[in-house]
């Protein structure tokens, strides 16, 4: 609870040395996180039921001075019981400085924008779905990106410009732990081809935002790459090698969010341009799409909130996609849509939290449920238990492919 001033001596020396005061703080947590598959399926004959078994020590070191400069670093030291190894994850490490109407942030940082709840249209920043699907705390869904962020705040509008020279893909469930649909599972010869760290491959993301009649309005633009991998074959007829790559993409969109209908109403849309496959003739590459979502969240009674979202993805070059899908391949619908429901009840002075999150797709006929309960024993210590439940008519759809990974998880955490 109480900040640990490890660098208190250093800070006081600095105070003596000059009139600039540096406040340095060290915080963090120790987290034990365990998730076990309950379907009885084994990925390999030798592997067990555990999708996740890890102990994490997260340290957050931060400081700032009177001149508007800030540094922040967050690192996880962890032991992965499933892989049997120790590792380090530098989740964030950035320097930031404010000067007049400008804020500059340089380094590895977690970036989020857009108004969807677990539905992302204009939020093009790296995510870790493995964490979500195996019950890590929500903060692990987002991964840090190394970039240069400039924010300009003016009375007319504000702008964020983010320059990301180092491509970071999404982390998706891998075959070492998860069951999922792989159309080329028989081809084990695989190479990954990430966008090289060239200046020409630098990703750009821009957001312009301002209040519009008490609503939050925003415009977005992004030029870069798909973060989910696409697959390429060396030969369509007799393939021997799969190349995993990240095709070029651009996203243009807008969002509005405000108080209405007794709660919060969210609207977001985006046009996703698949620049490597404008004609939509390559079925192994994402087609250009329009995505949209409408959401409404409201508090129905004391400490209970309900949120409902409707989300859709409309494929642009559907005819050429259909014409080129190889025989025997599952074809997608022109419109995939998803309903998402979130229910949260806080109890006993907000020390208990019961929550439900679900995705259901009427077009794919599949679902994903996350029931969760957490209990805050004290300000420092908390216990969370939950489950990840997947299902669907087919094993080739977004959520249906994970149905053999249904798991329960528990995590215990001590914050300091």
């Amino acid at each position: 609870m109480r900040p640990v001033h490890v660098f208190a001596v250093l800070a006081s020396l600095t105070t003596l040395a000059g009139d600039i005061v540096y406040a340095t703080e060290l915080h963090g947590f120790l987290l034990g996180n365990y998730a076990a598959r309950v379907t009885g399926d084994r990925r390999r004959p030798t592997s067990g039921d555990f999708l996740l078994g890890e102990e994490r020590l997260q340290l957050k070191l931060s400081g700032s001075n009177e001149g508007g400069s800030v540094y922040f670093a967050k690192a996880d030291f962890f032991h992965d019981e499933v892989a049997g190894q120790n590792d380090l994850d530098l989740r964030e490490a950035y320097l930031s400085h404010s000067a007049g109407a400008f804020d500059f942030t340089v380094g590895r940082q977690i970036l989020t924008w857009g108004v969807g709840d677990l539905l992302f249209i204009n939020d093009v920043f790296p995510k870790d779905y493995t964490s979500l699907f195996s019950g890590r705390p929500m903060e692990y869904l987002k991964r840090g990106t190394t970039g240069f962020k400039t924010t300009l705040t003016t009375e007319i509008a504000s702008a964020d410009l983010i320059i990301m020279p180092f491509f970071e893909p999404n982390r998706l469930p891998g075959s070492d732990r998860f069951f999922f649909y792989d159309p080329f599972s028989s081809i084990t010869n695989r190479v990954e081809n990430r966008p090289r760290h060239d200046l020409a491959n630098t990703e750009l993301a821009l957001r312009l935002y301002r209040p519009i009649l008490e609503w939050d309005g925003a415009l977005y633009a992004y030029r870069g790459f798909f973060r989910d991998p696409a697959m390429q074959l060396d030969s369509m007829t007799a393939p021997t090698q799969v190349t995993i790559n990240y095709p070029k993409s651009s996203v243009y969109g807008a969002s509005l969010q405000g108080n209405a209908l007794g709660g919060v109403v969210s609207l977001e849309a985006g046009h996703l341009d698949s620049r490597d496959d404008n004609s939509g003739t390559n079925p192994l590459m994402p087609n250009s799409q329009t995505k949209y979502l409408v959401g409404h969240q409201r508090s129905l009674w004391t400490d209970f909130t309900a949120g409902l979202q409707y989300y859709g993805e409309y494929m642009h070059q559907y005819d050429s996609y259909l014409a080129n899908v190889p025989a025997g391949f599952p074809s997608q619908d022109r419109l995939r849509h998803v309903l998402a429901l979130r229910l949260t009840q806080l109890l006993k002075y907000q020390t208990w939290r019961l929550s439900w999150f679900s995705f259901y797709s009427p077009s794919d006929k599949d679902f994903y449920f996350i029931p969760e309960t957490s209990y805050r024993v004290s300000d420092e210590f908390s216990v969370t238990m939950g489950g990840n439940v997947f299902g669907g008519a087919k094993e080739t759809t977004s959520f249906g492919q994970f149905k053999r990974n249904n798991n329960v998880y528990v995590n215990m955490r001590y914050d300091f």
């Binding site: 915080h27 947590f29 705040t153 405000g258 108080n259 806080l346």
Partner: protein, 270 residues
């Protein structure tokens, strides 16, 4: 200058009140409404721009204690009763660096945003002013930032001495959604601060009691520096202590924005 604005505001509010509902109110109701109006000014609006370091101690009936530490900034939007609040959480560790922004409007639900630093996310919140607990305490959002004056009808029941101070005793009866069926307030006749409030539930049983346990002069303004909200049914209580209080802080209305959530004003949140 400020006193002038305050007096003008008060006069304007009184005129507005009498213009809208005045004709239907009996004399004592009008007096009660004016007293409540003055109380709200003294309690929630005074001093223009406020900065304070706030410590909340939440104690259960069996003595378990939790703490919330935050810096609060508050500004009155010129030309009306709108207000903006900015709160930065110093602790406990799981909410550290979170920031909370509220645009409060007198006649409708507030706009609320929460910044979650671990996700880099600014999220709009859909909680209700009247019934939502503020950070798990015994205070609702309304208890923290005030209830719309038109949402209750008021009656001056009596005048009596409470803790050696002459007070107006006023009964508030909600005309719109509320967490209570009625509320009795003891309001100091000089400073117009509430010294005690009793909240009665739908069964008309006492369930919550507010007391102002310490009042100090800050920049010449009487200010409640210690307050307690006790739930007499559950035995849970919340003590709120204000420290490092500053009035007339040089902040602008525009400073209460998304920028502040993502990059809190360092000089004010120490």
């Amino acid at each position: 200058m400020r006193t002038n604005i305050f007096l003008k505001g008060l006069a304007l509010a009184t005129i507005l009140l009498s213009a809208t509902i005045g004709t239907e109110l009996r004399a004592e109701e009008r007096d009660a409404t004016i007293i409540i109006k003055k109380m709200q000014q003294a309690f929630f609006y005074q001093g223009g721009i406020l900065r304070a370091r706030v410590k909340m101690s939440l104690t259960t009936s069996d003595g378990n204690k939790r703490l919330r530490e935050l810096t609060m900034l508050r500004i009155n939007v010129p030309g009306g009763e709108d207000q903006r609040y900015f709160m930065y959480f110093h602790g406990p560790a799981d909410v550290r660096r979170m920031a909370f922004l509220v645009y409060k409007y007198p006649n409708k639900e507030s706009d609320r945003w929460l910044f979650i630093p671990d996700l880099g996310l600014v999220q709009r919140m859909a909680s209700k002013d009247a019934s939502s607990s503020f950070v798990g305490s015994d205070f609702t959002y309304e208890d923290v930032s005030g209830r719309n004056i038109g949402a209750d009808s008021y009656k001056l029941i009596k005048e009596e001495t409470y803790e050696n101070k002459p007070t107006f005793v006023i009964e508030s009866t909600p005309t719109t959604a509320a967490a209570y069926k009625r509320k009795i307030s003891w309001i100091d006749q000089t400073a117009f601060l509430p010294l005690k409030e009793e909240f009665y539930d739908v069964q008309d049983q006492l369930f919550k009691v507010f007391t102002a346990d310490e009042i100090k002069q800050v920049d010449g303004l009487p200010t409640i520096t210690k307050r307690v909200m006790k739930n007499v049914k559950s035995g849970h209580q919340t003590l709120v202590e204000f420290a490092e209080i500053q009035y007339r802080v040089p902040l602008k209305v525009e400073d209460f924005s998304e920028r502040a959530l993502r990059n809190p004003p360092k000089e004010w949140i120490k």
